[in-house]
Amino acid sequence: MTARAIRVLAVNTFREAVRDRVLYSMVFFAGAVLVLSLFASKVTVGDHEKVVRSVGQGAMDLFGCLIAMFLGVSLVWKELERRTVYTILARPLPRWSFIVGKYAGLMLTLAVEVALLLALYTVLMAVQQHVPPPVVFVSAASLLAKLALLTAWATLFSTTSSPVTAAAFTLSVFAIGNLADDIWLFGRQAESEAVQAAARALYWALPNFEIFNLRAHAVHERAIPWERFFTAIAYSAAYSSAVLGLAVVSFEKKDFK
């Protein structure tokens, strides 16, 4: 019964997202960037083919993150504000299933968005250069693992704050998460042991989004770094579950106004 409720809520969240014109605009814009990269390569110096691949990979990453944050920061808040949650939670389902269902629906939306952009990228590459090697698809899977973690953070903030505050928090986590390796390096180079310990603690507590970055491998069409890929998947699964767990704990305690 709970599994069925999660599926029903996920499908509804997906349906709500795909009926949102803003999502279409963002996906359209991402597609346009991919297509325009073909022309941009003509006016750049250097390896034209790599420019196209680099812009394509970057566009998929950027728009994936933007859509995850845009939809994620209002994912739960919107339900509370519009009070749609009243009649949903009056059904025989545990509260945690609501959070998991909403999250799963947003992940389904992001998976479809990444798949659409990947299909467009593949077609463009096949026409312009050659059929992309498997590393491109592995890189896209790694991107999805990154989006899973980012969405979990956005969902957590969405259960506790308004979209503006949640967006500010999510953006902060995203920015820090992209600097995680620098925090590690900073800690190693620091002379004070206290600073080193603080940097290490910060590094392990905050997400490291760089771990998911296989874009360079995809652009330069290198061999698939399987070990790094599976580490990233495991990291995302464990970390996303923990963050989603916090969102559930916060949601369980809530009194709906």
């Binding site: 029903v8 349906r15 009243y86 009649t87 009056a90 025989p92 009194d255």
Partner: protein, 316 residues
């Protein structure tokens, strides 16, 4: 064996405190309530009496600070207890991107229904609330009254044993209110227990077997409507045709057409009639006025007010 109550609450309490520096506010103060299975139960009280708080706790939307409650003997903290309950919040809100049909399919699926049986049930309910023509229109285009009807459909979808309705007639036109009244009675005839809060005391009086009166987070009265209002006569209203040239009785209101109306205490009615007859007036109407639920309600509200507030009220 005694029949298990549809709703049983014991010592239900809710204290609100948003921030630790704020003074706690008691929304519900140790509510003991038993709603027998099979009847229509009214839950009345002024704004802030704790009606919606009680309903939100029962439906798992608020956590109780203390106490416990059960639906048909099952602890409300167990989500499965809600499987036999249909709920309509005070102002139902739905996903505006869905049509009425899609909405009801969603709620049906969340209640474990599906397939052709669900589709048939959705169609029948939409026809019952006269929304069949608009079944595939997005709810974003619905009026408040139409949304209330969709709300009723989602509450009835899984043929619940208990209906919990928070102000179901609120904001409805007379036709909508009549429809809700009919649905409450239909569901009750089917064997469903109905528990509903309302400000419209006439509806409570005509629909309910039992009533609970809430004031200031506490239960102030509970029982059948008859036991609450009693059968004592409050006053007698006498309408007279005035005799030619005879003055109207003292305290009477003179009406058009040579008539006058007089309100007297029950024990003074006989003497008033005799005096009127002696003065040459003719009796047209004699109406004993009994206590209504509204009188009970106002008495309880007045009794619950702090003494100093009552005095200020009298002085002003």
């Amino acid at each position: 064996m005694a029949e298990v109550a549809a709703i049983e609450a014991r010592g239900l309490k809710k204290v609100y405190q948003t921030h630790f520096w704020e003074r706690p506010h008691t929304g519900l103060d140790g509510l003991d309530l038993t709603v027998p299975a099979g009847g229509v139960y009214g839950f009345v009280g002024p704004n802030g009496a704790g009606k919606t708080t009680t309903i939100k706790i029962l439906m798992g939307l608020h956590g109780a600070t203390a106490g416990e409650a059960r639906f048909f003997g099952r602890d409300i903290r167990d989500p499965a207890a809600r499987a036999v309950v249909g709920f309509l919040p005070e102002r139902p809100y739905f996903y505006t991107h869905l049509s009425a049909r899609e909405t009801l399919r969603l709620y049906g699926a969340l209640s474990g229904l599906g397939g052709a049986a669900l589709d048939a049930r959705v169609g029948a309910l939409l026809a019952r609330v006269e929304l069949a023509r608009f079944a595939d229109v997005a709810l974003g285009k619905y009026s408040k009254g139409m949304l209330q009807r969709v709300g009723l459909c989602q509450a009835l979808l899984h043929a619940p044993r208990l209906l919990v309705l928070d102000e179901p007639m609120s904001g409805l036109d007379p036709l909508g209110r009549a429809l809700v009244r009919d649905l409450i009675l239909e569901e009750n005839r089917r064997g469903c227990t109905v528990f509903f809060s309302s400000h419209i005391l006439h509806d409570i009086e005509t629909l309910c077997d039992r009533v609970a009166v809430m004031v200031g987070g506490r239960l102030r009265g509970e029982g059948t409507v008859a036991s609450l209002v009693g059968d004592a006569v409050l006053r007698v209203e006498i309408t007279l045709r005035l005799g030619a040239g005879a003055p109207a009785p003292a305290g009477a209101v003179v009406l058009e057409g040579g008539r006058a109306r007089l309100a007297v205490a029950p024990e003074a009615a006989e003497a008033a009639l005799a005096a009127a007859s002696a003065a040459g007036h003719t009796l047209i109407e004699y109406t004993p006025v009994r206590k209504t639920l509204e009188d009970v309600f106002l008495d309880e509200v007045e009794r619950a007010r702090p003494v100093d507030v009552r005095r200020i009220g009298v002085l002003s």
